[in-house]
Protein backbone atom coordinates (compact mmCIF):
# COMPACT_ATOMS: atom_id res chain seq x y z
CA UNK A 1 0.00 0.00 0.00
CA UNK A 2 1.23 3.45 -0.95
CA UNK A 3 -0.44 6.85 -0.86
CA UNK A 4 -0.09 8.61 -4.18
CA UNK A 5 -1.22 12.01 -5.36
CA UNK A 6 -1.87 11.77 -9.07
CA UNK A 7 -2.83 14.17 -11.82
CA UNK A 8 -5.77 13.39 -14.01
CA UNK A 9 -4.51 13.25 -17.58
CA UNK A 10 -7.72 12.25 -19.32
CA UNK A 11 -11.19 11.13 -18.34
CA UNK A 12 -13.67 10.41 -21.09
CA UNK A 13 -16.46 8.00 -21.99
CA UNK A 14 -15.55 4.86 -23.96
CA UNK A 15 -19.02 3.31 -23.91
CA UNK A 16 -22.40 4.43 -22.53
CA UNK A 17 -21.81 5.20 -18.83
CA UNK A 18 -18.26 3.80 -18.89
CA UNK A 19 -15.20 6.05 -18.58
CA UNK A 20 -11.50 5.59 -19.10
CA UNK A 21 -9.34 7.61 -16.73
CA UNK A 22 -5.60 8.00 -17.07
CA UNK A 23 -3.52 9.28 -14.18
CA UNK A 24 0.10 10.29 -13.90
CA UNK A 25 2.44 10.85 -11.00
CA UNK A 26 6.09 11.55 -10.43
CA UNK A 27 6.14 8.46 -8.22
CA UNK A 28 6.01 4.81 -9.16
CA UNK A 29 2.57 3.68 -10.29
CA UNK A 30 3.41 0.12 -11.34
CA UNK A 31 0.98 -2.57 -10.18
CA UNK A 32 0.73 -6.29 -10.52
CA UNK A 33 -2.13 -7.13 -12.85
CA UNK A 34 -5.37 -7.63 -10.93
CA UNK A 35 -4.44 -5.29 -8.11
CA UNK A 36 -6.68 -2.33 -7.38
CA UNK A 37 -6.55 1.24 -6.10
CA UNK A 38 -8.79 3.14 -3.68
CA UNK A 39 -9.70 6.56 -5.06
CA UNK A 40 -10.72 9.42 -2.78
CA UNK A 41 -13.91 10.95 -4.20
CA UNK A 42 -15.02 14.55 -3.60
CA UNK A 43 -17.75 14.79 -0.91
CA UNK A 44 -17.66 11.07 -0.04
CA UNK A 45 -16.23 9.65 3.14
CA UNK A 46 -15.25 6.26 1.76
CA UNK A 47 -12.85 5.81 -1.10
CA UNK A 48 -13.96 3.85 -4.16
CA UNK A 49 -12.11 0.66 -5.16
CA UNK A 50 -11.23 0.42 -8.86
CA UNK A 51 -9.17 -2.25 -10.58
CA UNK A 52 -6.00 -1.25 -12.33
CA UNK A 53 -6.73 -1.70 -16.00
CA UNK A 54 -3.18 -0.88 -17.06
CA UNK A 55 -0.14 0.48 -15.25
CA UNK A 56 3.30 1.64 -16.31
CA UNK A 57 6.12 3.38 -14.48
CA UNK A 58 4.32 6.69 -13.90
CA UNK A 59 0.94 6.08 -15.45
CA UNK A 60 -2.27 4.34 -14.47
CA UNK A 61 -5.38 3.57 -16.50
CA UNK A 62 -8.73 2.90 -14.80
CA UNK A 63 -11.91 1.86 -16.55
CA UNK A 64 -15.06 2.50 -14.57
CA UNK A 65 -18.79 2.44 -14.87
CA UNK A 66 -21.00 5.15 -13.37
CA UNK A 67 -23.38 3.35 -11.00
CA UNK A 68 -23.90 5.87 -8.18
CA UNK A 69 -22.81 9.13 -6.62
CA UNK A 70 -19.13 8.28 -6.23
CA UNK A 71 -18.48 7.16 -9.76
CA UNK A 72 -20.60 10.06 -11.05
CA UNK A 73 -18.35 12.46 -9.13
CA UNK A 74 -15.29 10.82 -10.70
CA UNK A 75 -16.80 11.18 -14.15
CA UNK A 76 -17.24 14.90 -13.55
CA UNK A 77 -13.54 15.50 -12.86
CA UNK A 78 -11.60 17.48 -15.44
CA UNK A 79 -8.07 16.78 -16.71
CA UNK A 80 -5.58 18.56 -14.49
CA UNK A 81 -7.48 17.68 -11.31
CA UNK A 82 -5.49 16.15 -8.46
CA UNK A 83 -6.50 12.71 -7.16
CA UNK A 84 -5.60 11.07 -3.88
CA UNK A 85 -5.10 7.31 -4.30
CA UNK A 86 -4.13 4.32 -2.25
CA UNK A 87 -2.22 2.14 -4.68
CA UNK A 88 -0.89 -1.40 -4.84
CA UNK A 89 -3.87 -3.01 -3.08
CA UNK A 90 -4.75 -6.69 -3.15
CA UNK A 91 -2.90 -9.76 -4.37
CA UNK A 92 -3.46 -9.54 -8.11
CA UNK A 93 -3.59 -12.36 -10.65
CA UNK A 94 -1.10 -15.20 -10.51
CA UNK A 95 0.49 -15.13 -13.96
CA UNK A 96 3.00 -17.80 -12.99
CA UNK A 97 0.10 -20.23 -12.70
CA UNK A 98 -0.30 -20.34 -16.47
CA UNK A 99 2.23 -22.44 -18.33
CA UNK A 100 1.24 -22.13 -21.97
CA UNK A 101 -2.18 -20.88 -22.83
CA UNK A 102 -4.41 -18.67 -20.76
CA UNK A 103 -8.13 -18.14 -20.95
CA UNK A 104 -9.39 -14.74 -19.76
CA UNK A 105 -13.10 -14.28 -19.17
CA UNK A 106 -14.58 -10.86 -18.46
CA UNK A 107 -18.14 -9.65 -18.09
CA UNK A 108 -19.08 -5.99 -18.50
CA UNK A 109 -16.85 -3.63 -16.55
CA UNK A 110 -15.14 -6.79 -15.21
CA UNK A 111 -13.09 -6.68 -18.39
CA UNK A 112 -11.09 -3.78 -16.92
CA UNK A 113 -8.24 -5.69 -15.20
CA UNK A 114 -7.89 -8.14 -18.08
CA UNK A 115 -6.03 -5.51 -20.10
CA UNK A 116 -2.87 -5.58 -18.03
CA UNK A 117 -3.29 -9.29 -17.33
CA UNK A 118 -3.24 -9.93 -21.06
CA UNK A 119 -0.27 -7.62 -21.59
CA UNK A 120 1.75 -9.32 -18.86
CA UNK A 121 0.85 -12.85 -20.00
CA UNK A 122 1.83 -11.99 -23.56
CA UNK A 123 5.09 -10.47 -22.33
CA UNK A 124 5.76 -13.77 -20.56
CA UNK A 125 5.20 -15.56 -23.86
CA UNK A 126 1.82 -17.10 -23.11
CA UNK A 127 -0.95 -17.64 -25.63
CA UNK A 128 -4.09 -15.78 -24.65
CA UNK A 129 -7.73 -16.33 -25.54
CA UNK A 130 -10.25 -13.81 -24.19
CA UNK A 131 -14.00 -14.24 -23.86
CA UNK A 132 -15.86 -10.99 -23.19
CA UNK A 133 -19.55 -10.70 -22.41
CA UNK A 134 -21.68 -7.56 -22.67
CA UNK A 135 -25.36 -6.71 -22.80
CA UNK A 136 -25.18 -5.12 -26.19
CA UNK A 137 -22.75 -4.05 -28.94
CA UNK A 138 -22.37 -0.45 -27.78
CA UNK A 139 -21.03 -1.62 -24.42
CA UNK A 140 -18.12 -3.61 -25.80
CA UNK A 141 -14.84 -2.70 -24.09
CA UNK A 142 -11.15 -3.39 -24.78
CA UNK A 143 -11.58 -5.72 -27.76
CA UNK A 144 -9.23 -3.78 -30.02
CA UNK A 145 -6.66 -3.28 -27.25
CA UNK A 146 -6.57 -6.98 -26.44
CA UNK A 147 -6.33 -7.99 -30.07
CA UNK A 148 -3.47 -5.54 -30.53
CA UNK A 149 -1.64 -7.46 -27.81
CA UNK A 150 -1.97 -10.63 -29.89
CA UNK A 151 -4.81 -12.24 -28.01
CA UNK A 152 -7.66 -14.09 -29.69
CA UNK A 153 -10.80 -12.25 -28.59
CA UNK A 154 -14.36 -13.60 -28.71
CA UNK A 155 -17.21 -11.31 -27.81
CA UNK A 156 -20.68 -12.38 -26.70
CA UNK A 157 -23.64 -10.04 -26.39
CA UNK A 158 -26.79 -10.91 -24.51
CA UNK A 159 -28.97 -9.31 -27.18
CA UNK A 160 -26.97 -10.79 -30.07
CA UNK A 161 -26.19 -7.38 -31.52
CA UNK A 162 -22.54 -8.40 -31.98
CA UNK A 163 -20.51 -11.62 -31.86
CA UNK A 164 -21.89 -14.68 -30.18
CA UNK A 165 -25.52 -14.36 -29.10
CA UNK A 166 -25.65 -15.15 -25.40
CA UNK A 167 -23.58 -15.06 -22.25
CA UNK A 168 -19.88 -15.85 -21.73
CA UNK A 169 -20.94 -19.33 -20.61
CA UNK A 170 -22.45 -19.81 -24.06
CA UNK A 171 -19.28 -18.42 -25.62
CA UNK A 172 -17.17 -20.83 -23.61
CA UNK A 173 -19.16 -23.81 -24.83
CA UNK A 174 -19.18 -22.57 -28.41
CA UNK A 175 -15.53 -21.54 -28.71
CA UNK A 176 -14.08 -24.46 -26.68
CA UNK A 177 -10.70 -22.74 -26.32
CA UNK A 178 -7.56 -24.66 -25.33
CA UNK A 179 -5.94 -23.33 -22.17
CA UNK A 180 -4.23 -24.59 -19.08
CA UNK A 181 -5.32 -21.78 -16.74
CA UNK A 182 -8.33 -19.47 -16.59
CA UNK A 183 -8.78 -16.00 -15.10
CA UNK A 184 -12.29 -14.67 -14.45
CA UNK A 185 -13.59 -11.21 -13.57
CA UNK A 186 -17.17 -10.01 -13.79
CA UNK A 187 -20.48 -9.78 -12.01
CA UNK A 188 -21.22 -12.36 -9.33
CA UNK A 189 -23.92 -14.27 -11.28
CA UNK A 190 -21.51 -14.69 -14.20
CA UNK A 191 -18.75 -15.98 -11.97
CA UNK A 192 -21.06 -18.40 -10.23
CA UNK A 193 -22.24 -19.70 -13.59
CA UNK A 194 -18.66 -20.20 -14.78
CA UNK A 195 -17.51 -21.86 -11.58
CA UNK A 196 -18.78 -25.39 -12.39
CA UNK A 197 -17.57 -25.10 -16.00
CA UNK A 198 -13.94 -24.50 -15.10
CA UNK A 199 -11.39 -26.86 -13.57
CA UNK A 200 -9.34 -26.16 -10.44
CA UNK A 201 -6.70 -24.40 -12.53
CA UNK A 202 -8.60 -21.15 -12.51
CA UNK A 203 -8.99 -18.06 -10.39
CA UNK A 204 -11.71 -15.48 -9.82
CA UNK A 205 -11.50 -11.77 -8.98
CA UNK A 206 -14.24 -10.86 -6.51
CA UNK A 207 -15.96 -7.67 -5.41
CA UNK A 208 -17.72 -6.49 -2.29
CA UNK A 209 -18.61 -3.14 -0.80
CA UNK A 210 -15.47 -1.99 0.94
CA UNK A 211 -14.85 0.12 4.00
CA UNK A 212 -11.09 0.53 3.73
CA UNK A 213 -9.60 -1.60 0.95
CA UNK A 214 -6.53 -2.16 3.11
CA UNK A 215 -7.51 -5.01 5.41
CA UNK A 216 -8.31 -2.87 8.44
CA UNK A 217 -12.09 -3.03 8.80
CA UNK A 218 -13.23 -6.58 7.96
CA UNK A 219 -15.98 -5.08 5.85
CA UNK A 220 -15.37 -7.21 2.76
CA UNK A 221 -15.06 -10.71 4.17
CA UNK A 222 -16.13 -13.86 2.34
CA UNK A 223 -16.20 -17.40 3.59
CA UNK A 224 -13.56 -19.59 1.89
CA UNK A 225 -12.70 -23.24 2.27
CA UNK A 226 -9.86 -22.08 4.53
CA UNK A 227 -11.99 -19.77 6.67
CA UNK A 228 -12.97 -16.10 6.41
CA UNK A 229 -10.85 -14.00 4.06
CA UNK A 230 -10.90 -10.27 3.31
CA UNK A 231 -11.43 -9.66 -0.41
CA UNK A 232 -9.32 -6.51 -0.24
CA UNK A 233 -6.43 -8.04 1.62
CA UNK A 234 -6.18 -11.75 0.87
CA UNK A 235 -7.95 -11.19 -2.50
CA UNK A 236 -9.49 -9.83 -4.64
CA UNK A 237 -8.29 -12.83 -6.68
CA UNK A 238 -9.07 -16.26 -5.23
CA UNK A 239 -8.10 -19.65 -6.62
CA UNK A 240 -11.11 -21.75 -7.48
CA UNK A 241 -10.46 -24.28 -4.74
CA UNK A 242 -10.78 -21.56 -2.10
CA UNK A 243 -14.32 -20.69 -3.16
CA UNK A 244 -16.95 -22.86 -1.46
CA UNK A 245 -19.63 -22.23 -4.10
Amino acid sequence: MEKRYCTLESNSPVAPGVYRMTLSSDQDLRHRCGQFVEVAVPEKFLRRPLSVSLSQADRLTLLYKVVGGGTAALAALQPGAGLDLLTGLGNGFDIEACRNAALLIGGGIGAAPLHQLCRDLRAAGRQVTVLLGFNTASEILLRDELEALGATVHVATADGSKGIHGLVTDALQQVRPTFDYAYVCGPMPMMRALYPLLSETSEFSLEERMGCGTGLCFGCTIQTTEGPRRICHEGPVFKKNLLPW
Binding site: F45, L46, R47, L216, G219
Partner: protein, 303 residues
Protein backbone atom coordinates in the same frame (compact mmCIF):
# COMPACT_ATOMS: atom_id res chain seq x y z
CA UNK B 1 8.90 24.74 23.54
CA UNK B 2 8.77 21.30 25.13
CA UNK B 3 5.87 19.80 23.16
CA UNK B 4 5.56 16.82 25.43
CA UNK B 5 2.86 14.57 23.98
CA UNK B 6 3.10 11.83 26.59
CA UNK B 7 0.17 10.83 28.79
CA UNK B 8 -0.23 8.25 31.52
CA UNK B 9 -3.19 5.93 31.23
CA UNK B 10 -3.99 3.83 34.27
CA UNK B 11 -0.32 3.85 35.25
CA UNK B 12 1.05 3.03 31.81
CA UNK B 13 2.94 5.76 29.99
CA UNK B 14 1.94 6.35 26.37
CA UNK B 15 4.38 8.43 24.33
CA UNK B 16 1.38 10.09 22.76
CA UNK B 17 -2.40 9.79 23.23
CA UNK B 18 -3.20 8.47 19.73
CA UNK B 19 -4.61 4.93 19.63
CA UNK B 20 -6.12 3.20 16.59
CA UNK B 21 -9.67 2.21 17.64
CA UNK B 22 -10.75 -1.40 17.77
CA UNK B 23 -12.14 -2.75 14.52
CA UNK B 24 -10.55 -0.09 12.35
CA UNK B 25 -6.95 -1.21 12.48
CA UNK B 26 -7.24 -4.92 11.83
CA UNK B 27 -5.09 -7.00 14.13
CA UNK B 28 -2.22 -4.57 13.98
CA UNK B 29 -0.08 -6.37 11.39
CA UNK B 30 -1.79 -4.95 8.34
CA UNK B 31 0.03 -1.62 8.46
CA UNK B 32 3.32 -2.90 9.79
CA UNK B 33 4.86 -2.61 6.33
CA UNK B 34 3.61 0.96 5.88
CA UNK B 35 4.79 2.74 9.03
CA UNK B 36 6.56 1.96 12.29
CA UNK B 37 3.93 0.74 14.76
CA UNK B 38 6.17 1.92 17.59
CA UNK B 39 5.04 5.45 16.78
CA UNK B 40 1.50 4.79 18.05
CA UNK B 41 0.45 5.61 21.61
CA UNK B 42 -1.14 2.16 21.90
CA UNK B 43 -3.14 -0.17 19.65
CA UNK B 44 -6.67 -1.42 20.32
CA UNK B 45 -6.95 -4.75 18.52
CA UNK B 46 -10.01 -6.04 16.66
CA UNK B 47 -12.86 -7.05 19.01
CA UNK B 48 -12.53 -10.65 20.15
CA UNK B 49 -15.06 -13.15 21.49
CA UNK B 50 -14.75 -16.51 23.16
CA UNK B 51 -15.50 -18.50 20.01
CA UNK B 52 -14.31 -17.63 16.49
CA UNK B 53 -16.98 -15.72 14.55
CA UNK B 54 -17.52 -15.11 10.85
CA UNK B 55 -19.63 -12.06 11.67
CA UNK B 56 -22.55 -10.78 9.62
CA UNK B 57 -23.22 -11.43 5.94
CA UNK B 58 -22.15 -8.75 3.46
CA UNK B 59 -22.77 -5.92 2.60
CA UNK B 60 -21.39 -4.86 5.94
CA UNK B 61 -20.61 -1.27 5.00
CA UNK B 62 -22.81 1.65 3.92
CA UNK B 63 -21.61 5.12 3.10
CA UNK B 64 -23.26 8.09 4.80
CA UNK B 65 -22.78 11.82 4.79
CA UNK B 66 -20.02 12.46 7.35
CA UNK B 67 -19.16 8.80 7.94
CA UNK B 68 -20.30 5.24 7.40
CA UNK B 69 -22.39 2.46 8.84
CA UNK B 70 -20.74 -0.84 9.62
CA UNK B 71 -22.28 -4.14 10.60
CA UNK B 72 -19.19 -6.33 10.65
CA UNK B 73 -20.66 -8.19 13.59
CA UNK B 74 -17.47 -9.01 15.46
CA UNK B 75 -15.69 -11.18 12.93
CA UNK B 76 -12.72 -12.60 14.82
CA UNK B 77 -10.72 -15.82 15.27
CA UNK B 78 -11.59 -16.21 18.97
CA UNK B 79 -9.75 -15.34 22.17
CA UNK B 80 -7.44 -18.35 22.03
CA UNK B 81 -6.06 -17.28 18.66
CA UNK B 82 -5.65 -13.76 20.02
CA UNK B 83 -3.64 -14.69 23.10
CA UNK B 84 -1.61 -17.55 21.65
CA UNK B 85 -0.93 -16.30 18.15
CA UNK B 86 -1.96 -12.77 17.25
CA UNK B 87 -0.94 -10.71 20.27
CA UNK B 88 2.52 -12.31 20.53
CA UNK B 89 3.08 -11.72 16.80
CA UNK B 90 2.12 -8.04 17.08
CA UNK B 91 4.33 -7.77 20.17
CA UNK B 92 7.23 -9.12 18.12
CA UNK B 93 6.69 -6.28 15.63
CA UNK B 94 6.56 -3.41 18.13
CA UNK B 95 6.81 -2.39 21.77
CA UNK B 96 3.59 -0.35 21.64
CA UNK B 97 1.12 -1.07 24.46
CA UNK B 98 -1.57 -3.43 23.16
CA UNK B 99 -5.23 -3.32 24.11
CA UNK B 100 -7.34 -6.46 23.92
CA UNK B 101 -10.91 -5.51 22.95
CA UNK B 102 -13.30 -8.10 24.36
CA UNK B 103 -16.94 -8.78 23.50
CA UNK B 104 -19.28 -11.43 24.80
CA UNK B 105 -22.82 -12.70 24.81
CA UNK B 106 -22.96 -13.61 28.49
CA UNK B 107 -21.21 -12.64 31.70
CA UNK B 108 -19.25 -15.86 31.56
CA UNK B 109 -17.97 -15.25 28.10
CA UNK B 110 -16.76 -11.79 29.09
CA UNK B 111 -15.21 -13.34 32.18
CA UNK B 112 -13.41 -16.18 30.44
CA UNK B 113 -12.09 -13.91 27.70
CA UNK B 114 -10.75 -11.48 30.30
CA UNK B 115 -9.08 -14.32 32.18
CA UNK B 116 -7.38 -15.49 29.02
CA UNK B 117 -6.33 -11.96 28.11
CA UNK B 118 -5.00 -11.54 31.63
CA UNK B 119 -2.64 -14.48 31.13
CA UNK B 120 -1.23 -13.08 27.91
CA UNK B 121 2.01 -11.20 28.43
CA UNK B 122 1.78 -9.43 25.11
CA UNK B 123 -1.39 -7.60 26.16
CA UNK B 124 -1.19 -4.44 28.28
CA UNK B 125 -4.80 -3.32 28.63
CA UNK B 126 -8.18 -5.00 28.55
CA UNK B 127 -10.99 -3.01 26.93
CA UNK B 128 -14.39 -4.58 27.45
CA UNK B 129 -16.84 -3.64 24.72
CA UNK B 130 -20.39 -3.54 26.10
CA UNK B 131 -21.61 -1.41 23.26
CA UNK B 132 -21.49 -3.32 19.98
CA UNK B 133 -24.76 -2.55 18.18
CA UNK B 134 -24.21 -5.17 15.48
CA UNK B 135 -24.76 -8.46 17.21
CA UNK B 136 -28.21 -9.50 18.15
CA UNK B 137 -28.10 -11.59 21.26
CA UNK B 138 -26.05 -9.37 23.47
CA UNK B 139 -23.28 -6.84 23.25
CA UNK B 140 -25.05 -3.56 23.52
CA UNK B 141 -27.64 -4.63 26.10
CA UNK B 142 -24.85 -4.75 28.67
CA UNK B 143 -23.99 -1.17 27.86
CA UNK B 144 -27.45 0.35 28.13
CA UNK B 145 -28.29 -0.54 31.70
CA UNK B 146 -26.26 0.44 34.79
CA UNK B 147 -26.91 -2.89 36.54
CA UNK B 148 -25.81 -5.00 33.59
CA UNK B 149 -22.77 -2.77 33.07
CA UNK B 150 -21.89 -3.20 36.73
CA UNK B 151 -22.20 -6.96 36.47
CA UNK B 152 -19.89 -7.19 33.45
CA UNK B 153 -17.36 -4.90 35.10
CA UNK B 154 -17.40 -6.92 38.32
CA UNK B 155 -16.84 -10.14 36.41
CA UNK B 156 -14.07 -8.64 34.27
CA UNK B 157 -12.43 -7.03 37.28
CA UNK B 158 -12.22 -10.42 38.99
CA UNK B 159 -10.75 -11.92 35.86
CA UNK B 160 -7.87 -9.55 35.26
CA UNK B 161 -5.40 -7.39 37.11
CA UNK B 162 -4.42 -5.60 33.91
CA UNK B 163 -5.75 -2.06 33.49
CA UNK B 164 -9.42 -2.51 32.68
CA UNK B 165 -11.38 -0.13 30.44
CA UNK B 166 -15.09 -0.49 29.73
CA UNK B 167 -16.25 0.78 26.32
CA UNK B 168 -19.62 2.49 26.49
CA UNK B 169 -22.44 3.02 24.06
CA UNK B 170 -23.86 6.39 22.98
CA UNK B 171 -27.26 4.81 22.35
CA UNK B 172 -28.47 5.66 25.85
CA UNK B 173 -30.69 8.20 27.55
CA UNK B 174 -28.25 8.88 30.36
CA UNK B 175 -24.68 7.63 30.30
CA UNK B 176 -23.73 8.92 33.75
CA UNK B 177 -25.24 6.13 35.90
CA UNK B 178 -23.70 3.55 33.56
CA UNK B 179 -20.28 5.18 33.76
CA UNK B 180 -20.54 5.49 37.54
CA UNK B 181 -21.55 1.85 37.87
CA UNK B 182 -18.42 0.78 35.98
CA UNK B 183 -16.26 3.06 38.10
CA UNK B 184 -17.73 1.69 41.30
CA UNK B 185 -17.05 -1.88 40.23
CA UNK B 186 -13.39 -1.11 39.80
CA UNK B 187 -12.90 -0.23 36.14
CA UNK B 188 -9.61 1.61 35.69
CA UNK B 189 -11.08 3.74 32.96
CA UNK B 190 -13.77 4.11 30.30
CA UNK B 191 -13.64 4.27 26.53
CA UNK B 192 -16.38 6.35 24.95
CA UNK B 193 -18.03 6.15 22.53
CA UNK B 194 -18.86 3.22 20.30
CA UNK B 195 -21.06 3.73 17.22
CA UNK B 196 -24.57 5.19 17.00
CA UNK B 197 -27.17 2.77 15.73
CA UNK B 198 -28.27 3.72 12.20
CA UNK B 199 -29.75 2.44 8.96
CA UNK B 200 -29.61 3.13 5.23
CA UNK B 201 -31.97 1.98 2.51
CA UNK B 202 -31.07 1.22 -1.11
CA UNK B 203 -34.00 3.03 -2.74
CA UNK B 204 -33.45 1.26 -6.05
CA UNK B 205 -33.61 -2.22 -4.57
CA UNK B 206 -36.08 -1.23 -1.84
CA UNK B 207 -34.20 -2.94 0.94
CA UNK B 208 -31.67 -2.00 3.60
CA UNK B 209 -28.14 -1.45 2.27
CA UNK B 210 -26.71 -3.62 5.04
CA UNK B 211 -27.49 -7.32 5.13
CA UNK B 212 -27.91 -6.85 8.89
CA UNK B 213 -30.51 -4.05 8.25
CA UNK B 214 -28.96 -1.74 10.85
CA UNK B 215 -25.36 -0.85 11.62
CA UNK B 216 -23.22 1.45 13.70
CA UNK B 217 -22.57 5.00 12.53
CA UNK B 218 -19.02 6.29 12.88
CA UNK B 219 -16.86 8.94 11.28
CA UNK B 220 -16.19 12.69 11.47
CA UNK B 221 -19.82 13.57 12.17
CA UNK B 222 -19.65 11.62 15.43
CA UNK B 223 -17.18 14.08 16.96
CA UNK B 224 -19.66 16.52 18.59
CA UNK B 225 -21.66 13.62 20.03
CA UNK B 226 -18.53 11.96 21.44
CA UNK B 227 -17.28 15.27 22.89
CA UNK B 228 -20.56 15.73 24.71
CA UNK B 229 -20.45 12.22 26.24
CA UNK B 230 -16.79 12.54 27.21
CA UNK B 231 -17.37 15.91 28.85
CA UNK B 232 -20.46 14.70 30.67
CA UNK B 233 -18.69 11.63 32.06
CA UNK B 234 -15.50 13.59 32.85
CA UNK B 235 -17.59 15.77 35.18
CA UNK B 236 -19.18 12.76 36.85
CA UNK B 237 -16.31 10.25 37.23
CA UNK B 238 -12.69 10.31 38.40
CA UNK B 239 -11.23 7.47 36.34
CA UNK B 240 -9.43 8.31 33.08
CA UNK B 241 -11.33 8.33 29.80
CA UNK B 242 -10.31 7.31 26.31
CA UNK B 243 -12.22 9.57 23.95
CA UNK B 244 -13.36 8.02 20.68
CA UNK B 245 -15.63 9.14 17.87
CA UNK B 246 -14.94 11.17 14.75
CA UNK B 247 -11.36 12.11 15.54
CA UNK B 248 -9.47 12.81 12.31
CA UNK B 249 -6.86 15.47 13.08
CA UNK B 250 -4.47 16.68 15.76
CA UNK B 251 -6.93 19.48 16.50
CA UNK B 252 -9.65 16.89 17.12
CA UNK B 253 -7.33 15.04 19.52
CA UNK B 254 -6.82 18.24 21.47
CA UNK B 255 -10.53 19.03 21.48
CA UNK B 256 -11.27 15.54 22.82
CA UNK B 257 -8.62 15.93 25.54
CA UNK B 258 -9.94 19.35 26.55
CA UNK B 259 -13.36 17.72 26.88
CA UNK B 260 -11.88 15.28 29.38
CA UNK B 261 -10.07 12.45 27.60
CA UNK B 262 -6.64 11.24 28.73
CA UNK B 263 -6.09 9.37 25.46
CA UNK B 264 -7.90 9.34 22.13
CA UNK B 265 -8.87 6.58 19.73
CA UNK B 266 -8.95 7.15 15.99
CA UNK B 267 -11.35 4.86 14.16
CA UNK B 268 -12.97 5.53 10.81
CA UNK B 269 -10.31 8.07 9.85
CA UNK B 270 -7.99 5.10 9.26
CA UNK B 271 -10.46 3.61 6.80
CA UNK B 272 -10.20 6.67 4.59
CA UNK B 273 -6.49 7.07 5.20
CA UNK B 274 -4.61 4.13 6.70
CA UNK B 275 -1.82 6.56 7.59
CA UNK B 276 -4.18 8.80 9.58
CA UNK B 277 -2.70 7.90 13.00
CA UNK B 278 0.96 8.60 12.15
CA UNK B 279 -0.13 11.76 10.32
CA UNK B 280 -1.99 12.98 13.41
CA UNK B 281 1.00 12.13 15.61
CA UNK B 282 3.24 14.13 13.28
CA UNK B 283 0.93 17.12 13.51
CA UNK B 284 0.41 17.08 17.27
CA UNK B 285 3.59 18.95 18.32
CA UNK B 286 2.98 21.60 15.65
CA UNK B 287 -0.58 22.23 16.79
CA UNK B 288 0.56 22.26 20.44
CA UNK B 289 3.11 24.90 19.50
CA UNK B 290 0.42 27.05 17.83
CA UNK B 291 -1.84 26.76 20.85
CA UNK B 292 0.89 27.26 23.42
CA UNK B 293 0.53 23.80 24.96
CA UNK B 294 3.77 22.48 26.49
CA UNK B 295 2.54 19.29 28.07
CA UNK B 296 -0.44 17.67 26.43
CA UNK B 297 -1.54 16.16 29.73
CA UNK B 298 -2.13 19.67 31.12
CA UNK B 299 -5.19 20.19 28.91
CA UNK B 300 -7.07 17.06 29.97
CA UNK B 301 -10.58 18.12 30.96
CA UNK B 302 -9.94 21.84 31.16
CA UNK B 303 -13.30 22.68 29.62
Amino acid sequence: MVNDTSVTLAGIRLQNPVIPASGTFGFGFEMAGCFDLNRLGAISLKGTTLEPRFGNPTPRIAECSGGLLNAVGLQNPGIDALVSDIAPRVRALCKTPLIANISGFSLDEYGICCEKADQCEALDFVEVNISCPNVHQGGMVFGTDPKAAAAVTRRARKATSKPLFIKLSPNVTDIVPIARACEEEGADGLTLINTLLGMRIDIRRRRPVLANRTGGFSGPALLPIALRFVNQVAKACRIPLIGCGGVASAEDVIEMMMAGATAVQVGSASLHDPLACPAIIDQLPKVMEQLGIEHLKDIIGIV
